[in-house]
């Protein structure tokens, strides 16, 4: 089925990207995230523990990026395996946009599918759960990234020093670091939709 949504993050895009450079922040913000790792420039993996209705399960998600059009959008595809709980897979087209008043708007349309026990037991709960988890993520993300950002005036932590330079990783064959990290925002959702979105 199709799921779409839009989030306005009250943060300048640069700040968002800076935050996204910190895997710790992402790990903190993805509900139930236990591990997050970059496998290659277009692939990353995540381990997430989630509760959907009557089921509690650990999902291993793999996310692949394609159709990169920095910094306007990307296509993200992936799947999450939850063992006996089943699987989720799908793809999402994501756009990032400045809202003109200092914030960033993230829009997505996802087409995804769940299988196995999640479909059998929880299909009614999937949409609501996915939406709730996505909201939780973006809420927490905004909050977490805003905290160090507001401390900008204070002696700069190493991280904010990097912030103004969301530049390429320098590797000619690779994607700009910022691009795939921004995509990670989506990956968040990605793990959620793919695993949960119906």
């Amino acid at each position: 089925m199709n799921l779409s949504g839009e989030y306005r993050l009250p943060l300048p895009r640069r700040t968002v990207w800076a935050g996204l450079n910190d895997p710790d922040i992402l790990r903190q913000c993805i509900p139930g995230c236990e591990d997050l790792a970059k496998v290659s420039d277009t692939e990353l993996t995540a381990k997430v523990g989630l509760k959907i209705g009557p089921m509690t399960a650990k999902f291993t998600g793999k996310v692949t990026l394609s159709d990169l059009d920095p910094p306007n959008g990307y296509k993200i595809a992936g799947e999450g395996q939850g063992g006996v709980a089943g699987f989720g897979k799908g793809s999402a087209v994501v756009t990032l946009e400045e809202d003109g008043s200092g914030g960033t708007i993230l829009r997505y349309t996802a087409d995804s599918q769940v299988g196995g026990k999640m479909a059998q037991l929880g299909s009614r709960l999937i949409d609501a759960t996915a939406k709730k988890l996505a909201d939780e993520f973006f809420g927490k993300f905004a909050e977490t990234v805003a905290a160090p950002a507001s401390a900008d005036a204070a002696p700069a932590p190493a991280q904010s020093a990097e912030a103004p330079v969301p530049a390429a990783s320098g590797d000619a064959g690779g994607l700009p670091q910022s691009v795939w990290i921004a995509a990670l925002v989506v990956a968040v959702g990605a793990v959620l939709w793919m695993v949960l979105g119906n």
Binding site: G83, G86, F87, Q113, G115, G116, Q120, L121, S123, R124
Partner: protein, 793 residues
Amino acid sequence: MAVDGIGAAVRRKEDFRFLTGRGNYTDDIDRPNQTHAYILRSQSAHARLGKIDASKALKAPGVVAVFTGADLAADNVGGLPCGWGIKNKDGSAMHEPPHPVLAVGKVRHVGDPIAVVIAETLAQAKDAAELLKVELSDLPAISQVRDAIKPGAPVVHDGGPNGNISFDWHIGDADAVAAAFKKAHKVAKIDLVNNRLVANAMEPRAAIGEFDRATGDYTLYTTSQNPHVIRLLMGAFVLHIPEAKLRVFAPDVGGGFGSKIYHYAEEALVTWASAKVGRPVKWTAERSESFLSDAHGRDHVSHAELALDKDGKFLALKVSTLSNMGAYLSTFAPAIPTYLYATLLAGVYTTPAIYAEVKAIFTNTVPVDAYRGAGRPEAAFLLERLVDIAAAEMGMDRVEIRKRNFIPTNAFPYQTPVALQYDSGDYFATLDGALKLSEYSGFEARRAEAKKRGKLRGIGISTYVEACGIAPSNIAGALGARAGLFECANVRVHPTGSVTLFTGCHSHGQGHETTYAQLIAERLGIGLDQIEVSHGDTNKIPFGMGTYGSRSLAVGGTAVVKALDKIVAKAKKIAAHLMEAAEADIEFKDGKFTVAGTDKSKAFGEIALTAYVPHNFPLETLEPGLDETAFYDPKNFTFPGGAHICEVEIDPDTGVTKVVNFTAVDDVGRVINPMIVEGQVHGGVAQGIGQALLENCNYDDSGQLRSGSYMDYTMPRADDLPSFKVATAITLCTHNPLGVKGVGEVGAIGSPPAVINAVVDALKDYGVRHIDMPATPQKIWAICNSGRRAAAE
């Protein structure tokens, strides 16, 4: 007559153990040194199956063995056989792809078994199954028949000669139908779906395999409706075990409704694996697994047209049906939408020309097979919906149009244009009985009263016929059956006069232990406490085709009667010898043998004792003992029929339908135990109302089962049902000695169209012509809402 004989409403003998928790079900059985099997099932609806790496799982604690399809193939284990072959229109054989015990090459539905893990405990087996690494690459999948026949649709079985079509079959006279349609005054048309159902027996399936290393004998304990059929199919086709070396025992079974007829992969798996691991192997389905592995029921998509003349007489019927077979052909699947469906399309009417075509379609779903009624509910639903639509088209009363087209009571035996010959029936009597019992004539007053309360009240009628005790074997064989359809009974009179009946009809809720005992009590004049009924064990019972299609009394009961005939005939010979009289002068009544015209008499027990202590016995002309077996192969089906009337009230604000009255007047032939008959009708009607209003097995377009638990699959509960008004108006079957027809399925056949006809009637002000099952509050609320909007505009 004996007090507890034919016609007595005796309480069921078996209920004491069931109601006190003393039943002995397969899962209650634990064998010494037993292991536990857990089956890894596909989560994908359709995928290529690559390597299965079991190395980690094999090292997990408690694991005894892991087997995959490759292990079975290496051991020459065969696929699960299909027991009925159907021919295409052109006479060619149906497409019958292999049905491996464990998937090979591809998985074809969610729940398709991939591997089995055998461990010391079930928990260890489950944990180890998570360590199996299975290479699966997903393929596009299809779940709906309409999608499966589109060009370019994913193909469930590669290399099928006709895509996903297993067979394209037809019956009837297409030319006669076409000619009749040309003369039609009006044509009533309908497109409808018969919703997919899950049987949901109270007891999930279970199986224990045990191999005796000393003798080489195998035993399978299983939840089966027909253990001899399982022994035959599994022994001969799958595991190649001689029947003499294979015992199949189905102990107490907690409901089947058809879903426990079939030979399932798990039965073969535990039996085979028990020899491999040298220990008993036990498997019990979890409820989730039942949803994914028990054969489902129904799932038809049909278009039908009925031609009428200006007086409302039916001239011709044409029907086109797509029947979902699921991913494989289950044991009797091909027979259901053909010889148990299309042959019933005459219904109770004199429609002179009928043509039906049925395409059986593979999809990436659980296999579909018989479920209570099996084909006949689909026929009855289609016809009875169509007749209501015809009444509306003609502006005729729904009772009048039915009566005008009923087969006259003096027209039996009646040959239909779709192969069947009905032997007896009186459709006027059952309908008039139901009209009276339901207080039909007072309905409009009740409708008006409900309207004052803001409720929409509707009434619906269904008049149906069905066919039970599928037979005879030679004709069924000519139509594609790959098994016989007789039944066997062995009546063993013990030396002191008590009796054990060994019957091939398994009992899993039908009350055989009581009904059969009543037949014996009636005939032999002995008390029910002197009679035991044994079923389910192939080592005890000579043979049997099992219990399905409401056959136990019409076929199994007749076999009992035939065996009793032999018992009485032999007992008369013994009595004649004892009383020094001519055999022809011996009379047997109320348990006493008497010599006509004298006061000489011998009790049944005395004869029994003499048979086993043959001191004064005609040994030169008669064998000792009193133990007789009969096999009975019926001449024809039996044809129960009846009229069901349903009254509903709909709350337009919530869309909730409440069944407020339900009346069933059925002709089930002679009634042996009225309480059991009433109970069977109650159960069937509950399931029929469930299908009409609540139950729906739902797959998404990618083949994922979405209704895999009772959160989403709505079973009828006590508060969904009214107190039923049930009665019988019988005619006797003309070709079996008891005159019995069968009652197991009538409730589930007659009720769904009565409910939907009532719902449509309640919604008539909204211009509703048809509503597909289940008529959920969501659907009805939408109708009421759009109607209101339309009215407001």
